[in-house]
């Protein structure tokens, strides 16, 4: 019944998929009204929801209510063109961890995906050698 390009039918997988597109999360125009979870019809990686400005309001930091990413944040490492994030440089790395010791998410630091992966590895190494804390004391 359904042809491949008319996703109005209920998805066979996850009939109880949350209709998050209707909860005002800023789904971009042109997204199908039916938003199933990732991997619904094959090929839609994150669902249409985060396609907008990239910051979901419920996940926003304590700064404000509906706070998307403020401005176009650039990846510091891409700008400086670094090829290797050194785990020994705790001063550089410390600006990417919370004061509690946890790694800051990309949307707060503006790091690109590749550098975020390298950054996490470096942070964890530094934590292991006591250059950075695992969990800062309260």
């Amino acid at each position: 019944m359904t042809d491949a390009n008319a996703p109005q039918q209920q998805a066979p997988a996850a009939p109880v998929a949350p209709q998050a597109a209707s909860s005002g999360a800023g789904a971009p125009a042109g997204a199908p009204p039916q938003s199933q979870g990732p991997g619904g019809f094959g090929g839609r990686p994150g669902g249409p929801r985060p396609g907008g400005p990239g910051g979901r309001p419920p996940g926003g930091p304590k700064r404000g209510k509906r706070n998307f990413v403020r401005k176009k944040k650039v990846c510091r490492f891409c700008v400086d063109k670094v090829d290797l994030i050194d785990y020994k440089k705790a001063d550089v790395l410390s600006s990417f961890i919370q004061d509690r010791g946890r790694v800051l998410p990309r949307r707060m630091t503006g790091t690109c995906a590749r550098h975020q992966r390298w950054l996490t590895v470096a942070i964890k190494r530094a934590q292991n050698i006591a250059l950075l804390p695992f969990a800062a004391e309260l």
Binding site: F77, K81, D83, L84, K89, R125, I129, A130, L131, P133
Partner: protein
């Protein structure tokens, strides 16, 4: 076989006398040369405050070494020595050659791309040696 490079960092108790520290370093040095490795660099970072308490201590004496070897067994041996050594309270070995290779690759790609772009002053015959393209910094 290709040469591997390892970063070895270890921390000793802060009250360890200098002679002890040197003894540990030379033990590692001998162990490494026995296995056919060479220690390229040894840096003593001195006493540093640690981010958390290790064995109830807040400070430690950091030593950093770069080890080059074509044989992976040397790491096990060095770590074994560190483990049994009393003043050493923490150690970490990181294998770095793949990352350094990747860094080199990126640098080369970037320089190639920069050389391909029409530049005013740089002669096109020199591949990748663009004058204003500084080497990529390590963050």
């Amino acid at each position: 076989m290709e040469e591997r490079q390892y970063d070895l960092i270890f921390i000793l108790r802060p009250d360890t006398p200098e002679s002890e520290i040197d003894k540990v370093i030379s033990t590692l040095d001998h162990a490494a040369t026995e296995k056919g490795a060479k220690i390229e660099k040894t840096e003593k970072w001195g006493r540093k405050r640690m981010a958390y308490r290790v064995q109830r201590l807040r400070e430690g004496f950091y030593v950093y070494m770069v080890v080059r070897s074509s044989n992976g067994e040397v790491v096990k041996e060095l770590e074994r020595r560190l483990k049994v050594s009393d003043p050493v309270i923490k150690y970490l070995t990181v294998r770095l050659d793949e990352e350094l290779k990747r860094q080199e690759k990126f640098k080369r790609h970037r320089e190639k791309r920069a050389a391909r772009r029409p530049k005013k002053t740089v002669p096109a015959s020199v591949p990748g040696q663009a004058g204003e393209q500084a080497a990529a910094p390590v963050a």
